[in-house]
């Protein structure tokens, strides 16, 4: 792997981290401008969204626009927003009438738990089964697992979620149907953790199964390729035991695309769970973002984009660092910023 004895701080890994830190604000700005422009281009504004639910007279509409600062020009509003951002103020959500930071902070742990749980579940299950499948390509286990993965991959997550809910929550009553905790039960500490975990089983499984299929297929595909590479052929020729061959050589080489996929999936941490969050009434960021679009709540949407962006940047950085560990041929310096 990396030559022994090289310290991290002076090494190429640190250069990478530093470079990424410098570039992050630019990425963020680009995202913010894009998000803002998109909301501006959408028909109707936050006041329209609000009065659509309750009616009112022209005076009310006018007064609300003034109150919410929507009578100002888009450029002014965006600059004001950026100015606030510079002082760490994410603004006030129009739809909820609360500080954006508070709204997001409430939902972030839930989303992280849901998405993190689903990713871990999917990664573990998917790569594990993928290795099994790829160990003997075209063998009976491979065919079975690949077929199952193909079917799962094709299933709409909301449909899968409903079916699982019907089976486990309605018919069998093994698991709770919706929400993230039993209301009014007042659990604390470990009991609360357990209660929340129980509530998350169905949504995490729904999300996780869909992604697991993806990892399985990728892992298997990568392994099939790796079997043919010189590197593996050479190892095989050396007479290494099959088990070691599969795990140390074939699987390791197949990890690259899978790790890439992890990086790609990081963005879906927020958005991809929108539908699952709706079906199971999980108060997460995905659903919140979709609501922010419908309500034309630009401080909230931009706030979520920022959080999502930071997460993605972090994960991508980790993924790039992982590359170097896995694939000794990847150069961290010149080629991989």
């Amino acid at each position: 792997m990396s030559p022994p004895g090289r310290s991290f701080v002076r090494g190429p890994a640190w250069l990478l981290v530093r470079r990424r830190l410098v570039q992050a604000p630019l990425v963020l700005l680009f995202v913010l401008v894009g998000g803002f422009l998109l909301l501006e281009a959408a028909p109707g504004d936050a006041v329209d969204a609000y009065v659509a639910s309750l009616g009112g007279d022209a005076g009310l509409v006018h007064e609300l626009r003034e109150r919410w600062g929507l009578d100002r020009s888009p450029a002014t509003r965006f600059i004001l927003y950026l100015a606030g951002l510079a002082t760490g103020d994410l603004g006030r959500s129009v739809a909820f009438d609360r500080p954006v930071l508070a709204v997001i902070a409430e939902r972030l742990p839930v989303t992280l738990a849901l998405a993190g749980g689903a990713t871990t579940f999917a990664f573990a299950l998917g790569t594990g089964l993928g290795i099994l499948a790829g160990a003997r390509p075209r063998g009976p286990l491979d065919r079975l697992l690949s077929a199952a993965a193909l079917v799962l991959n094709a299933t709409p997550s909301f449909w899968l979620g409903l079916l699982l809910a019907l089976l486990f929550a309605v018919h069998l009553r093994w698991l709770p149907l919706a929400g993230i905790e039993t209301i009014g039960a007042g659990y604390t500490g470990a009991a609360r953790l357990f209660d929340v975990a129980r509530h998350l089983v169905l949504p995490v499984s729904t999300l996780g199964l869909v992604y697991a299929a993806l990892y399985l297929r990728l892992m298997r595909a990568g392994m099939v390729e790796a079997w043919r590479s010189d590197f593996v052929r050479a190892a095989r020729a050396k007479g290494i035991s099959r088990r070691r061959l599969v795990l140390r050589h074939v699987a390791r080489n197949a990890l690259l695309p899978v790790v890439t996929m992890l990086g790609l999936q990081s963005a879906t941490l927020v958005g991809g769970s929108v539908v699952v969050e709706s079906v199971f009434a999980v108060p997460g960021l995905g659903r919140l973002a979709a609501e922010a679009v419908t309500q034309r709540d630009f401080p909230l949407l931009l706030g979520i984009l920022i959080v999502s962006a930071l997460l993605v940047l972090l994960v991508n950085l980790l993924v790039d660092l992982l590359y170097a560990r896995i694939d000794p041929r990847v150069e961290l310096g010149a080629r991989a910023p």
């Binding site: 570039q23 990425v27 680009f30 995202v31 894009g34 998000g35 998109l38 281009a41 959408a42 028909p43 193909l150 079917v151 991959n153 094709a154 299933t155 709409p156 997550s157 909301f158 449909w159 409903l162 019907l166 297929r217 990728l218 595909a221 099939v224 390729e225 043919r228 590479s229 010189d230 052929r233 690259l256 695309p257 890439t260 990086g263 790609l264 990081s266 963005a267 879906t268 927020v270 958005g271 991809g272 929108v274 539908v275 995905g286 973002a289 979709a290 679009v293 419908t294 984009l305 999502s308 993605v312 940047l313 991508n316 694939d327 041929r329 990847v330 150069e331 080629r335 991989a336 910023p337």
Partner: protein, 277 residues
């Protein structure tokens, strides 16, 4: 090219899948000839079960519209949207990834930051926002999906290029005096493509599912039948009239399955070239 096809044909599953896909596409294209009922005609007997009435072999929905007609016409929308979006995403993404991987340095940085920016916006939300702005016509949905899906191929291609660049056979080509462009197009790109092809299959699958999810939220083109919208409508009566969701879901499953198998077949067919020293 011919030995590519020959290799592809060796994978019977992929061949079968390709056949199924072609059949689906043909059925979609010739829908009005195949089954002349109007998919939008309300007023027929509602909620007929499949295989009950020969006039409506797959039953009818809540407004009395024929399910078979809606499936066939829905195939048109789902297939065109998905393939168009995946194609656009793959082409755009590969171009960006190739440029970034080859150029290195500043251009690579810039392109990767742009990719980062697009990737930080969750794909489904980007699609949602686009559709809210542009309207739910098929064109906007294609644009919306492609706008978020191009980053996958871009990163894959770039990663492959990065890992291939140091390989012996590439260095050999450079040392042999091949101009950079040749190295890129004839040596690097073909070896970088297999993951993109495999991913393209995923792109089509996810495009179909994103369209279904958008319809689920009521953002489908209301003038046309789409599988996603059918599942959304059938969802309300999932327990009592499950076939309304199951049938379009099966159609989705079949399509995606076929696409994935074809993708894998292509992957296999392209793979042996990688091992060339």
């Amino acid at each position: 090219m011919t030995d590519l096809l020959a290799r592809f044909a060796r994978d019977r599953a992929a061949l079968l899948a390709a056949g199924v896909l072609a059949g689906l596409a043909l059925a979609a294209a010739s829908a009005p000839l195949l089954w002349p009922l109007d998919p939008e005609a309300v007023g027929g007997p509602p909620l007929l079960r499949p295989l009950g009435d020969p006039a409506h072999p797959l039953g009818t929905d809540r407004l009395g519209r024929d399910v078979l007609a809606r499936l066939l016409h829905g195939a048109r929308l789902s297939l065109t949207v998905a393939f168009a979006a995946a194609f656009a995403a793959s082409v755009l993404g590969s171009a960006v990834g190739l440029a970034a991987g080859l150029a290195g340095g500043r251009l690579d940085e810039l392109l990767m930051r742009v990719t980062d920016a697009f990737q930080t916006v969750p794909g489904f939300l980007l699609a949602l926002a686009f559709v809210s702005v542009l309207g739910p016509e098929a064109r906007s949905v294609v644009l919306a999906i492609a706008a978020s899906a191009w980053t996958g191929p871009a990163r894959l291609v770039r990663a492959e290029i990065a890992s291939l660049a140091g390989r012996d056979f590439v260095l050999a080509a450079v040392v042999a005096g091949l101009p950079r462009r040749e190295v890129a197009l004839r040596v690097l790109l073909p070896n970088a493509l297999p993951p993109v092809v495999a991913y393209a299959a995923t792109s089509v699958a996810s495009a179909v599912l994103i369209e279904a999810a958008l319809s689920f939220l009521g953002l489908a083109d209301p003038n046309r039948a789409s599988w996603g919208a059918m599942i959304a409508e059938g969802r309300a009566v999932l327990v009592s009239e499950p076939w309304l969701s199951i049938l379009p879901g099966l159609a989705l499953l079949l399509t995606v399955l076929a696409v994935n198998l074809v993708g894998e077949g292509l992957n296999e067919a392209l793979a042996p070239r990688r091992a060339r020293p």
